[in-house]
Amino acid sequence: DFEGQNLAESLTTTIIAFTGILAFIAGWVLSDLKYTVYVGLSGTTLAFLAVVPPWPMYNRNPLVW
């Protein structure tokens, strides 16, 4: 379970950081702030979906009492 927690945390960090960079680049290249906001929000939604619901991949090493 602790492995799962590590995975969840590293996943959220990388997804959201990457989304931030992509959002900035998208807005810069397309020269419109709208795209920055869209890319940023959709990437964040992806991060939420990947991390928050209790997927079984986070429970691969459960604790043995």
Binding site: E9, I16, A23, W28, L33, A47, V51, V52
Partner: protein, 184 residues
């Protein structure tokens, strides 16, 4: 990360941090990057009428200057992807008797888009008819009109600038007693 609620909180907090960082980068990139507004403004005073007028909601009778002007401006280079709108205004400045520098805005406009940033106005009537703080405008000399712009970004700091200066002109003496409302 041991429960869903904790994960929600963690993801959201990192999201706000990243959002703030991206906004800071955006603001920096649009303020520091070479934004050189090569606006060619040519403000020419066309005609000046001055008359005694009643202020529409006060009983004090003062002297007002009615100014018409020509304006030729291209403020397109001020628009980048971070600009929400550009507020531009023309202000008349002159030395006065009571204070050494007086300045009054006679006209302004909001440009929400780059397509609206090419201004060609001929004999445009000033939006705001100005009056002097002493109440008398007679024969004021050395009045110059200049165009100012103010860029309002989506994220970041506001920036101002001025461009274009007309030559100095002198107001004619008081015209007849026209009972004209000041908000023409």
């Amino acid at each position: 990360m041991h429960s869903s609620l904790v994960r929600v909180q963690s993801v959201f907090s990192f999201f706000t941090t990243v959002t703030f960082c991206v906004a800071a980068f955006i603001a920096l990139s649009t303020v520091l990057s070479p934004t050189n507004p090569t606006a060619t403004v040519d403000v020419r005073k066309f005609r000046v009428i001055k008359g005694r007028a009643h202020q529409y909601y006060a009983s004090k009778v003062q002297e007002y200057a009615f100014i018409n002007f020509d304006l030729d401006a291209d403020l397109g280079s001020l628009f980048n992807w971070n600009t929400k709108q550009v507020f531009t205004y023309i202000s008349a400045s002159y030395p006065g008797s009571k204070f050494s520098e007086n300045e009054a805005v006679i006209w302004d406009a909001i440009l929400p888009h780059r397509s609206a940033s090419r201004l060609h106005l001929k004999n445009e009537r000033a939006k705001y008819n100005i009056n002097d703080i002493t109440g008398k405008f007679s024969d004021r000399e050395n009045i110059t009109l200049s165009l100012y712009w103010n860029v309002q970004p989506h994220v970041g700091v506001l920036t101002w600038g001025s461009v274009g200066l007309s030559e100095a002109f002198t107001l004619p003496p008081l015209e007849g007693k026209e009972k004209v409302s000041a908000k023409n």
